[in-house]
C-alpha cells in the first residue's frame, strides 16, 4: 500500500445478514456505500455483485482503488454451524482427551441438563504421539517419528483434510511440534496443518488445543474462500493487495490469514469497535466505550489508555449464546468485547421471582417485535420504545417498516396487568431494564480490568443504540455520548481505520532476577523479524513500521498476568529495574495495592508490529446538505414514568447544519436509527458529522 497519493480505499464487511461495502475517496472525501444481503453458501458472490454495483453507482474507476480491507463472519459461522474440514489432532501420548475433558466444570451450577460443546475433532480422530517436554522445555521423551508416520498413514486412509498438532509444553519448546509438522507435511502434502505453539502460544493445554483444532478446522474453507475473493477482485479490475481484518483490530496479508484463520473470528464487531474509537478520537476523547445495539444483541468494547483492550482468552460457538464457559475456548488476540442478549427485539417477560426481565430471548427480525405486524406478539424493547414515543411509527428504518402502535400496546397488556402497572409505566420499565442490563455488563467488565467507567465517552451505533445511549450512559455515570454518522456500515468503515498489524507471542517464564538477557534478546529479535516480514509483505515501507513490546508479568505463584507495555529495545541489566516498576504501576492501578516483597516474574513476551492506519483523517468532510435546523415535528414523549408525556421536538439528522445545537429533550431521526436526547442532556453537531450529546452536572 502506498500511503503517499490519496487513493480510494475500499472496505468489505460480510456479516451474518448483510454484506456492506464502503469506498472512501480520500481526495474528495466522498464516501460511497453499498449494502446487500449476504449470499450463502458462497459469500464471495455478494462481494463481487456489491462491488460491481458500487463502482457503477459511484463512477469510481476500479484502478483508483489502492487499498482493500476485508472482514468476514465466514470463520465464525463455520465454527457455529460445524461445517469445517474433517480434522484430526496429534497430541502428546496420554493427552488426546484434553479437549474433551476440558476444565471439568459446569458453566451453570443449577442446570442438571447441561450440555457441553463437543470438540471439533471427534475422539476417534485424536491420536496419541509418544513424546514429552517438561514444563521448563527439556525433553523427557523424544518424539517417536516412526509412530508419527504410521499415524499419517491412518489419516491418509481416513481422508483427513486438516491436522492440528498440540503437544504439552510446546509453548516453551516447540521442537517436537516442528518435527511432527515436518513429517505430516511430507507425508500428507495436501492436508492443512496447524501447530499449537504458532497458533496459540501460551500455557494451558485445553484452550491451546481447542484453538489449534479450530484453526485447522476452518483452514481449508478459508483458503478456498480467500482465493475466490482475490480472483474476483482482480476480475473487477482491482489490483490492490487484499488485506484481511483480524479480531485483534489490525489487518494482515492473505497469506497470514490463511495460516491463522482463527484470528479472523469476530472481525466484524472488531471493525465496529474501531469505528467507535475513530469517532471518539476525532472528537478528542481519550477513553471510549464503543457500544453497538442491534436487534438481538448489544456489544461493547472499552479503551484502556486510549487503545482498545486485547484479550487472549475468549470463546466461540457457544452452546448457550450468552453463557460464559459454554463455548469452545480460543486463545488468540481479540478486541475484548462484551456481548449480551439485549437488542430491539429482546422480549420482556416475568422471571421466576415474578419480576420483569428483558432478553436474552429475542424476536429478532422474524417474527419481529409486535409492532412490526409480521407475526410477533410478545412485548419487545422496540415495542416499548414505540409506546414511549421514542420511535416514529411512520419513519422507522426510513419508513421502510411501518410500526403498529395498537399491536405494541396489545403485546404489553398481559405483562402490565400481571404487575398491576399502567402500560406506559411497564414500557418505561422495559426500556430502563434493558439499559441497566447493558450498563451492568459494561460495569462488571470494567471492574475486572480496574477501569473507571465514569470517565468514558460512549459512542453509540446500531439500529437501537442511539435510542438507548442516554439511558445506558446514565446507568454508567457517563456524561458524553457520540452518535457517529455512517452507523449503518459502521464495521466496514472501522476496517478503513485499522492499521496493518500482526503480533507474536512467546512464553519465556523467568523471575526478573534471573532473566537470561542474551537469550531473551534473541527471542525478541526473532519475533520482530517475523512480524516485519508480514507487515512489509502488505506493502508497508520498513520506515513506517512501529514495533511495540508487551510483557505479561505477575508475582511468582499468581496465575493471571498483568500486561505491561515496555519499550522495544535491546534489553540490558538496567531494564530489569524498569520492568519491575512498570509492573508495579500497572498492578497498583489494577488491584489497588502491591503484594510487597514477593518476587516478580515475566511470563509472555508479545511483540506487536504495525504499519500506519490508512490516512482517512485527511479526507475533507463531505459538504452538509443543511436546509433546516428547525424541528420537523413535535410529538408527545414519555421520559419519566410519573409524569405526563412531554411535547418534544423532532429533528431530521440530514438537515442539521454544522453549528446546530439544542437542549433536550429532543429527538433526532434518520433512516438507520433514532437518537433520543433525554431531559438534562443537550445535543450539538460536531466534527465529522457526529452528534455530540452531553449531560449537565447534577446540582
Amino acid at each position: 500500500m502506498s500511503m503517499s497519493a490519496p487513493p480510494t480505499l475500499l472496505a468489505i464487511d460480510i456479516g451474518g445478514t448483510f454484506t456492506d461495502l464502503v469506498a472512501l475517496d480520500i481526495a474528495s472525501g466522498r464516501i460511497a456505500v453499498e449494502k446487500l444481503l449476504t449470499t450463502y453458501p458462497d459469500p464471495s458472490a455478494a462481494v463481487l455483485e456489491g462491488l460491481a454495483s458500487l463502482l457503477e453507482k459511484s463512477r469510481l474507476a476500479p484502478g483508483s482503488i489502492r487499498y482493500v480491507v476485508h472482514g468476514t463472519t465466514l470463520i465464525t459461522n463455520t465454527l457455529i454451524e460445524r461445517t469445517g474440514a474433517k480434522t484430526a489432532l496429534l497430541a502428546t501420548e496420554g493427552f488426546r482427551d484434553a479437549v474433551e475433558i476440558g476444565n471439568e466444570g459446569r458453566y451453570d451450577m443449577y442446570d442438571l441438563a447441561l450440555k457441553k460443546p463437543p470438540p471439533l475433532a471427534e475422539r476417534r480422530l485424536r491420536f496419541d504421539v509418544p513424546e514429552r517436554m517438561l514444563a521448563d522445555g527439556t525433553v523427557w521423551t523424544p518424539l517417536n517419528e516412526a509412530r508419527t508416520r504410521q499415524i499419517c498413514a491412518v489419516l491418509r486412509a481416513d481422508e483427513i483434510e486438516a491436522v492440528a498438532i498440540c503437544f504439552l509444553h510446546a509453548y516453551t519448546n516447540p521442537a517436537h511440534e516442528l518435527a511432527a509438522l515436518a513429517i505430516v507435511s511430507e507425508e500428507l502434502p495436501e492436508v492443512s496443518t496447524s501447530v499449537s505453539h504458532q497458533v496459540a502460544p501460551g500455557m494451558r493445554e485445553y484452550p491451546r488445543a481447542s484453538t489449534t483444532i479450530a484453526n485447522a478446522y476452518v483452514q481449508p474453507i478459508t483458503e478456498r474462500y480467500l482465493r475466490r475473493v482475490e480472483t474476483g477482485l482482480k476480475g473487477c479490475g482491482i489490483d490492490a493487495p487484499l488485506n484481511i481484518m483480524l479480531s485483534s483490530g489490525g489487518t494482515t496479508t492473505v497469506a497470514a490469514a490463511r495460516a491463522f484463520p482463527v484470528r479472523l473470528v469476530e472481525s466484524g464487531p472488531a471493525g465496529g469497535a474501531l469505528a467507535g474509537l475513530y469517532w471518539g478520537r476525532l472528537l478528542g476523547e481519550q477513553d471510549v466505550l464503543a457500544f453497538d445495539m442491534g436487534g438481538t444483541t448489544a456489544k461493547a468494547a472499552l479503551t484502556r489508555d486510549g487503545e482498545l483492550s486485547i484479550s487472549h482468552q475468549s470463546e466461540v460457538a457457544h452452546v448457550h449464546r450468552f453463557k460464559r464457559g459454554s463455548g469452545l475456548p480460543l486463545m488468540v488476540p481479540m478486541i475484548e468485547m462484551i456481548e449480551i442478549g439485549a437488542g430491539g427485539g429482546s422480549i420482556a417477560h416475568l422471571n421466576p421471582l415474578g419480576l420483569p426481565a428483558v432478553g436474552p430471548r429475542s424476536a429478532g427480525s422474524a417474527p419481529g417485535p409486535a409492532s412490526y405486524g409480521i407475526g410477533g406478539t410478545e412485548p419487545t424493547v422496540t415495542d416499548a420504545d414505540l409506546l414511549l414515543g421514542y420511535l416514529n411509527p411512520d419513519y422507522f428504518a426510513g419508513g421502510g417498516i411501518k410500526l403498529d402502535a395498537a399491536a405494541a400496546r396489545q403485546s404489553f397488556a398481559d405483562l402490565a396487568a400481571a404487575l398491576d402497572l399502567p402500560l406506559e409505566r411497564m414500557a418505561w420499565g422495559v426500556h430502563q431494564l434493558v439499559n441497566e442490563n447493558m450498563a451492568a455488563a459494561a460495569r462488571v467488565h470494567a471492574a475486572e480490568r480496574g477501569l473507571e467507567i465514569r470517565r468514558y465517552c460512549l459512542v453509540a451505533t446500531g439500529g437501537a443504540g442511539p435510542a438507548h445511549a442516554c439511558g445506558v450512559a446514565k446507568g454508567l455515570g457517563v456524561r458524553r455520548v457520540i452518535i457517529p454518522p455512517l452507523a449503518g456500515v459502521g464495521s466496514a468503515f472501522g476496517f478503513l481505520t485499522a492499521p496493518i498489524a500482526f503480533d507474536f507471542t512467546r512464553s519465556y517464564v523467568a523471575k526478573l532476577s534471573a532473566l537470561n538477557l542474551t537469550e531473551l534478546n534473541e527471542i525478541l529479535a526473532d519475533l520482530e523479524r517475523e512480524g516485519r516480514g508480514i507487515v512489509e509483505a502488505a506493502g508497508v515501507p520498513p520506515s513506517d513500521i512501529s514495533v511495540r513490546l508487551h510483557i505479561d508479568m505477575r508475582y511468582v505463584g499468581q496465575g493471571y498476568e498483568v500486561r505491561v507495555p515496555f519499550p522495544m529495545e535491546t534489553l540490558t541489566a538496567r531494564h530489569i529495574r524498569q520492568m519491575q516498576s512498570a509492573f508495579e504501576n500497572e498492578y497498583r492501578a489494577f488491584y489497588g495495592q502491591l503484594a510487597d516483597g514477593l518476587p516478580i516474574e515475566a511470563v509472555n513476551w508479545r511483540v506487536l508490529i504495525s504499519g500506519p492506519a490508512p490516512d482517512i483523517a485527511s479526507a475533507p468532510p463531505a459538504a452538509s446538505l443543511a436546509v433546516n435546523d428547525a424541528p420537523v415535528a413535535f410529538r408527545p414523549v414519555r421520559f419519566e414514568p410519573e409524569k405526563a408525556p412531554q411535547e418534544t421536538p423532532v429533528y431530521r439528522r440530514e438537515q442539521l447544519g454544522e453549528a446546530w445545537a439544542a437542549a433536550g429533550p429532543l429527538i433526532i431521526e434518520e433512516a438507520a436509527s433514532t437518537t433520543i436526547v433525554a431531559p438534562g442532556w443537550s445535543a450539538q453537531m460536531a466534527a465529522g458529522g457526529c452528534l455530540l450529546l452531553t449531560r449537565e452536572q447534577e446540582s
Binding site: 496420554g94 476444565n103 443449577y110 442438571l112 523427557w140 504439552l168
Partner: protein, 570 residues
C-alpha cells in the same frame, strides 16, 4: 415503596456488584485453587447477615455455608453497629463456617454515611493451614491445623499483625496463604465501593428494603416449587466407601404442602477419621441439590433456604460434634446429593440424574523440591456424572461441587510432578438407555529425585455410582501403583522416585434399561472408544461387526431377546 421494576433494576445491580467483588478476588489471587479451580464464593449480606446475592462463581459448599456463617455466627457476634469502618473479620471454624479449617471466611462491613449497611463476605480454600496436610488421617480436629476463631483481621484499616504472624508461622506456604487473604480483602473492598456507588445512584439509605422484598419473593417461588410436588415421604439410602469401613447415608424427604424437610436419620455415626461433616455443610449440599432439581431458575439466597429444613442426628457422620476431625469432609458431604436425587426420582424422574462419581478426587502432594524448598500442591479431579432421562451423563465433570480441574501444564509448572496420562476411561460409564459419563485415568510421578508425600482423598473405589430406573452402575474407582501397590484411597503414603501412581476415576450411573439404548448410539460409542466391543455386547446386547464397524441387526435382536428372557442379567 419500591415497585417491581425498580426492585429488579436494583437487584440486577446487586448481582453485578458481587460479580465485581469475585472478579477482583480471582484476579488478585495467588493460588491455582482459587483461580483455576474456582474454589471460592463471594456474596453480599444485609445488616442482619441475610445473604441477598452471590456471585455466579463458587461452589455450593462455600456459598451456602458462608450464608449460614454470616447470619448465625458473624452478625450475632459482631453486630454491624459494633464494627468500625476498616474492620474485617476472619474465621475458619469448621462448625460455624464451611466444615474444615482450610476454608477461610473473610467478612467486611460496609459503611455509608456513617452507618453500617451491609457485609461482604468470601470463602476461599487456603492451600495450606498447617497441621497434617489435607486428608482423612487425623484423629481429631487438633491435628488438622490452625484454628482461627472469629476475630478481626483488620482493625479500622490496620492489619492484625499478631494474627498474620501466627498464620505465617503455622502454614507451609505463607506467601500464598497470606496473598490470598489479601485477595479476599481486595474483593470485599471492591464490592463495598460498588455498593456505595449504587446507594448513591438510587438514593437509598441501605439495602434493607430491597433485601426484604427479594428474600420474600425468593421464598414464595421456592414454596411454589415445593407445593407442586405430591405430599409424602420419599426415601433413599446409599452406601459409600467410608475411611476403613463402609458408611450409610440415609435420607427421607418429607413434602408437606409448601415445606420440605430432609431428615438424615439412619445415617452412620461419626468416625475418628477426618471425613466427618458438620451440619452446616450437610445443609449446604442438601439445599443446593434440591434447588438444582426443583427450582433451577430461582436465585440462591436466604429466602430460598427458609422453606427447606435439614436435620441429621447429632453425632452422626452428617452432624458431627467437636472435636471430630473434618479435614476431608467433602468426601462424604458431596454424597448427600446422591440419595436425594434418587429419592426424588420417584416423583420427578425427568428433573433428576442418576448417581455419579459425586466426590471430587483430591490429590495432594508435598515434599521437598530439587532446590530443597518445601512444596505443597493440591488439585481436584472429577469422574463421570450420572445420566438423565433424555441424555448421557457428562464425562469427567464435577457434580455437585462446582469447582474446576487444573490444566496439566499448570500443575507441572507449579509442582515437580510429571503427568503421564490424563484421558477418558472407556467402559466406565454405567450402561443404560442413556449412558453414565466416563471417568478419567491419570498417571503421574514425582520428578525431584526424592520421595514425596501423596495424600489421597478418593471415594467410590468400593461402592460405584448406581444407575437409575434400570440403568447400570458406573465403574468404581481404583488407586494403584506401577509396582502393583494399592495405596489406601483415603490416607497418605510415600511416593518414591520412579514409582508411578495410577488413578482411575469412577464413572456415572446409567438411566433406564441398557437394552433400550438405540443401537446406533452404542455403535457411535464404540467408534469413539467410549465403549468397547465387548461391553457393547455384554452390557447393551448390541453386536457390532469389527471389520465393517456396522451393527449386526439380526444378532442384536436375538441377543437382546435372550437377555430379556434372562430377566435381570444386570
Amino acid at each position: 415503596m419500591i415497585d417491581p421494576i425498580t426492585l429488579e433494576v436494583i437487584w440486577s445491580r446487586l448481582i453485578s456488584v458481587v460479580d465485581e467483588q469475585a472478579a477482583a478476588l480471582i484476579h488478585s489471587s495467588f493460588t491455582t485453587v482459587v483461580r483455576e479451580a474456582g474454589d471460592l464464593s463471594a456474596g453480599v449480606f444485609d445488616r442482619s447477615g441475610n445473604m441477598i446475592a452471590q456471585s455466579v462463581t463458587g461452589t455450593p459448599g462455600h456459598i451456602n455455608t458462608m450464608a449460614n456463617c454470616v447470619r448465625k455466627y458473624v452478625a450475632p457476634n459482631y453486630p454491624i453497629d459494633s464494627l468500625d469502618p476498616g474492620d474485617t473479620l476472619i474465621t475458619n471454624d469448621p462448625w460455624e463456617a464451611s466444615g474444615h479449617l482450610f476454608d477461610l471466611t473473610i467478612v467486611s462491613p460496609v459503611f455509608y454515611r456513617g452507618r453500617g449497611v451491609a457485609y461482604f463476605a468470601s470463602t476461599c480454600h487456603a492451600v495450606d493451614i498447617g497441621g497434617a496436610t489435607m486428608g482423612g488421617d487425623a484423629r481429631s480436629l487438633y491435628e488438622e491445623g490452625l484454628a482461627i476463631p472469629l476475630m478481626k483481621l483488620f482493625k479500622a484499616g490496620e492489619a492484625n499483625r499478631e494474627l498474620f504472624d501466627i498464620i505465617r508461622a503455622n502454614v507451609r506456604v505463607p506467601e500464598q496463604v497470606i496473598g490470598d487473604i489479601y485477595a479476599q480483602e481486595v474483593g470485599n473492598q471492591v464490592g463495598a465501593r460498588k455498593l456505595i456507588e449504587m446507594l448513591e445512584e438510587y438514593r437509598l439509605p441501605d439495602i434493607e428494603q430491597v433485601s426484604a422484598l427479594i428474600l420474600d419473593r425468593t421464598e414464595k417461588a421456592v414454596r411454589a416449587a415445593v407445593r407442586a410436588l405430591p405430599d409424602g415421604t420419599y426415601r433413599n439410602t446409599i452406601t459409600i466407601d467410608g475411611f476403613d469401613a463402609p458408611l450409610t447415608i440415609a435420607c427421607a424427604i418429607d413434602v408437606a404442602g409448601d415445606e420440605l424437610t430432609v431428615d438424615y436419620g439412619g445415617s452412620s455415626r461419626q468416625v475418628d477419621r477426618g471425613i466427618n461433616v458438620v451440619l452446616n455443610y450437610t445443609q449446604a449440599y442438601t439445599t443446593y441439590t434440591l434447588m438444582a432439581a426443583l427450582a433451577p431458575g430461582i436465585p440462591n439466597n436466604e429466602g430460598a433456604f427458609r422453606p427447606i429444613q435439614v436435620c441429621a442426628p447429632l453425632g452422626s457422620i452428617l452432624n458431627c460434634t467437636r472435636p471430630a476431625p473434618v479435614s476431608a469432609r467433602h468426601l462424604i458431604g458431596h454424597f448427600v446429593s446422591q440419595p436425594l436425587l434418587t429419592a426424588l426420582a420417584a416423583i420427578v424422574p425427568e428433573q433428576v440424574i442418576a448417581n455419579g462419581s459425586a466426590g471430587l478426587w483430591n490429590t495432594m502432594m508435598d515434599g521437598m523440591d530439587e532446590h530443597g524448598d518445601e512444596f505443597a500442591y493440591i488439585f481436584f479431579s472429577a469422574g463421570g456424572m450420572g445420566a438423565a432421562h433424555d441424555r448421557d451423563g457428562l464425562s469427567a465433570t464435577a457434580f455437585p461441587s462446582g469447582i474446576m480441574g487444573v490444566p496439566v501444564e499448570a500443575i507441572e509448572t507449579a509442582a515437580p510432578l510429571l503427568m503421564h496420562r490424563r484421558e477418558l476411561r472407556p467402559d466406565s460409564g454405567g450402561a443404560g438407555r442413556f449412558r453414565g459419563g466416563l471417568g478419567q485415568v491419570m498417571e503421574m510421578e514425582i520428578i525431584t529425585g526424592a520421595p514425596a508425600n501423596h495424600s489421597c482423598m478418593y471415594d467410590r473405589t468400593g461402592n460405584p455410582a448406581l444407575g437409575l430406573l434400570g440403568g447400570a452402575p458406573g465403574a468404581p474407582g481404583e488407586v494403584r501403583l506401577s509396582d502393583g501397590g494399592r495405596p489406601h484411597p483415603k490416607s497418605h503414603y510415600v511416593l518414591e522416585p520412579g514409582q508411578r501412581v495410577i488413578l482411575e476415576l469412577p464413572g456415572g450411573g446409567g438411566f433406564g434399561p441398557p437394552d433400550e439404548r438405540d443401537p446406533a448410539r452404542v455403535l457411535a460409542d464404540v467408534r469413539q472408544g467410549y465403549v468397547s466391543h465387548l461391553a457393547a455386547e455384554r452390557d447393551y446386547g448390541v453386536v457390532i461387526d469389527p471389520a465393517t464397524m456396522t451393527i449386526d441387526d439380526a444378532a442384536t435382536e436375538t441377543l437382546r431377546k435372550e437377555r430379556g428372557h434372562d430377566g435381570a442379567a444386570l
